[in-house]
């Protein structure tokens, strides 16, 4: 059998029969390796996400085994593809339905900035309506890039302080998007 690599233990104190660490570290570790993504695939980048999900690139290796199509159980919103102005309220609605802690990954040029579609009907980047944690450039990005973006989100999840979401700074951020 091949050797199984397991995630490194967080910093802490260990002795005979015990291991002590902080909640931040332990929960961060657990969260980062079981991020359930909500694939919000609208266009071309969604096809690349299909490749990412398939056997060749296999996003499951990074703990995203289960794409959660219900926002209520999702941790990570992956917005892939152009978001038209008609679609914008839907994206926001989906984001609002997600429970904290939630992360957002903008995959592709269109989701990040509107991309080549600087037109009357396209939203110029989803960060105009919801806060974004990580941007993946490319039109469309390669599956490796999408996985790289996911790993950045894992890093964020791992190193986030548990109370970060209660800070004033975070509340201000949400308030700037008119999210309560």
């Amino acid at each position: 059998m091949k050797e199984v690599t397991i995630a490194e233990a967080p910093q802490g104190h260990s002795g005979a029969g015990f291991f002590a660490t902080s909640f931040d570290e332990a929960i961060g570790l657990a969260r980062s390796y079981s991020l359930w993504p909500l694939p919000f695939a609208t266009s071309c980048c969604g096809i690349e996400f299909m490749a990412t999900m398939g056997a060749h690139y296999d996003i499951s290796r990074f703990g995203s085994e289960r794409p959660s199509f219900s926002p209520r159980q999702a941790d990570l919103l992956m917005v892939m593809g152009t978001i038209a102005k008609k679609m914008a309220p839907v994206v926001k609605q989906v984001y609002l339905q997600m429970a904290e802690p939630r992360w957002v990954l903008a995959v592709g040029a269109c989701a990040s900035s509107g991309g080549i579609f600087d037109t009357y009907s396209v939203l110029q980047g989803i960060d105009r309506i919801i806060p974004v944690d990580c941007y993946v450039p490319g039109c469309p990005p390669r599956p490796e890039q999408i996985i790289d973006g996911l790993m950045h989100i894992q890093y964020l999840a791992q190193n986030e302080k548990l109370r970060r979401r209660n800070t004033d700074e975070y509340q201000h951020l949400l308030a700037s998007y008119n999210i309560q």
Binding site: H56, A84, K86, C139
Partner: protein, 408 residues
């Protein structure tokens, strides 16, 4: 013992009963429903599990292709066609190039035409693979999807070898191809021709005669030929309804007349027929790729059209004339002749038409895309009327509606 007074048993008459009201449920299918593969909304009126009527909303990724096209030089429009039907973008791109070549009356060399055919047929295979494997996923068979996705990666590797990109494959130019097929590309295509049939056979074994799959798809989402024509069906969906209309045969472009292939047709136009037509088309496409590769003519891979085809870099640095052309093409300073062209190619979903009006300027005056899935998707409520919700999902995925093409 006291006598018990028996009360008359009071049975209400039929007229006194409260009237039973049949209540219809409204179900919002989409725009982010996981089973819709792309974003479009269907507001379904349901009687229990039966669909009574449906109302469609589309336009959730309307990106204004036609408006952008009016502001871009001809060679930049491939960035739009790339992203139209993103499952088979080479067909869109070459379709556009052929439209411009028709306007300019450029004769493309045979070699370029054959390379185009190879690429277009590979694109058709990848398009149909996605459609049929997703149809499998919707019936609950996930493994078929995983098998064929692996082969789609091989097609993407061929694209990468030819042009460097996986999905948005800008590999053609007005007048020919951007570059010749490299030996690696040819080897990869040969490998694909060899390794794809076992996988497709395996996929067929998994699905085609699978009792569950047959029960789920036969007589589901059918449409009669007459209605299909009225609704403007083209491509595999029309052929499944029983008409052998294929642009490749009726109006051959890019040397399709040189190849020997047949057009599969269905009978009842149901989901099973659509699936079978797509499977058979993949075999035919493979046949065309093989023929084109074996008979690949020697010669140049681009036409002599210096005003539209970028000169080689070496020439640009050493030759004044080439430098001028290079500058003019890149800056989009070439005036195209005035004219009006309609050119159609057989896209992954049907007749993909380009209606181009040029007023003699540097950009199209008007460019309209005839997007097959936009036109036939309007038949969907009629097709799923009276069927159950789970069947309606299959009907939708077998129609292969691509959101980017639908909304333009």
């Amino acid at each position: 013992m006291a006598e018990i007074e028996l009360l008359p048993h009071n049975v209400p008459s039929q007229a006194e009963l409260p009237e039973l009201v049949e209540e219809l449920t409204t179900l919002n299918l989409g725009p982010t429903h996981p089973a819709t593969h792309g974003i479009f909304q269907n507001i379904l009126k349901m009687d229990g599990e039966k669909i009574v009527s449906g109302e469609q909303t589309i336009g959730y990724i309307h990106r204004a292709f036609e408006k952008i096209a009016e502001r871009r030089p001809f060679y930049q429009i491939t960035t739009l066609t790339d992203r139209m039907n993103y499952c088979s973008s080479p067909i869109n791109n070459f379709g556009w190039h052929m439209t411009v070549e028709k306007l300019l009356q450029i004769e493309v060399p045979k070699r370029a035409q054959y390379i185009r055919v190879i690429m277009m047929e590979l694109a058709r295979i990848s398009d149909h693979l996605i459609c049929n494997s997703i149809l499998g996923v919707d019936t609950g068979a996930f493994s078929g999807f995983l098998y064929v996705m692996q082969k789609r990666e091989d097609i993407y590797e061929i694209y990468e070898e030819v042009c460097g990109a996986r999905l948005t494959t800008n590999m053609g130019r007005i007048g020919g191809m951007e570059r010749d097929l490299s030996t690696t590309a040819i080897r990869k295509i040969r490998d694909f021709i060899k390794t794809f049939p076992p996988v497709l056979q395996e996929f067929e074994k998994l699905m085609s005669r699978n009792r569950i799959f047959m029960d789920r798809t036969i007589n589901v989402g059918g449409i009669s030929l007459e209605r299909a024509l009225s609704y403007g069906f083209t491509g595999p969906n029309l052929r499944a309804a029983g008409l052998d209309y294929d642009v490749r045969v009726m109006n051959p472009y890019s040397s399709y007349e040189d190849f020997d292939f047949s057009i599969p047709i269905g009978q009842s136009g149901d989901t099973f027929d659509r699936y079978n037509v797509r499977i058979e088309e993949m075999w035919q496409s493979l046949k065309i790729v093989e023929q084109a590769l074996n008979n690949l003519p020697e010669g140049p891979y681009y036409a002599d059209a210096p005003e539209y085809y970028l000169p080689p870099k070496k020439e640009v640095y050493n030759n004044m004339e080439a430098l001028i052309y290079h500058f003019k093409i890149v800056m989009g300073e070439i005036d195209a002749p005035a004219g009006e062209v309609y050119h159609a190619v057989e896209g992954g979903n049907g007749e993909l038409g380009f209606y181009l009006i040029s007023d003699g300027g540097r950009a199209p005056y008007r460019l309209h895309f005839r997007r097959p899935s936009f036109i036939y998707y309007q038949a969907y409520p009629e097709m799923c009327k009276g069927s159950t919700l789970s069947d309606a999902i299959l009907t939708m995925s077998s129609l292969n509606v691509i959101a980017g093409e639908l909304d333009a």
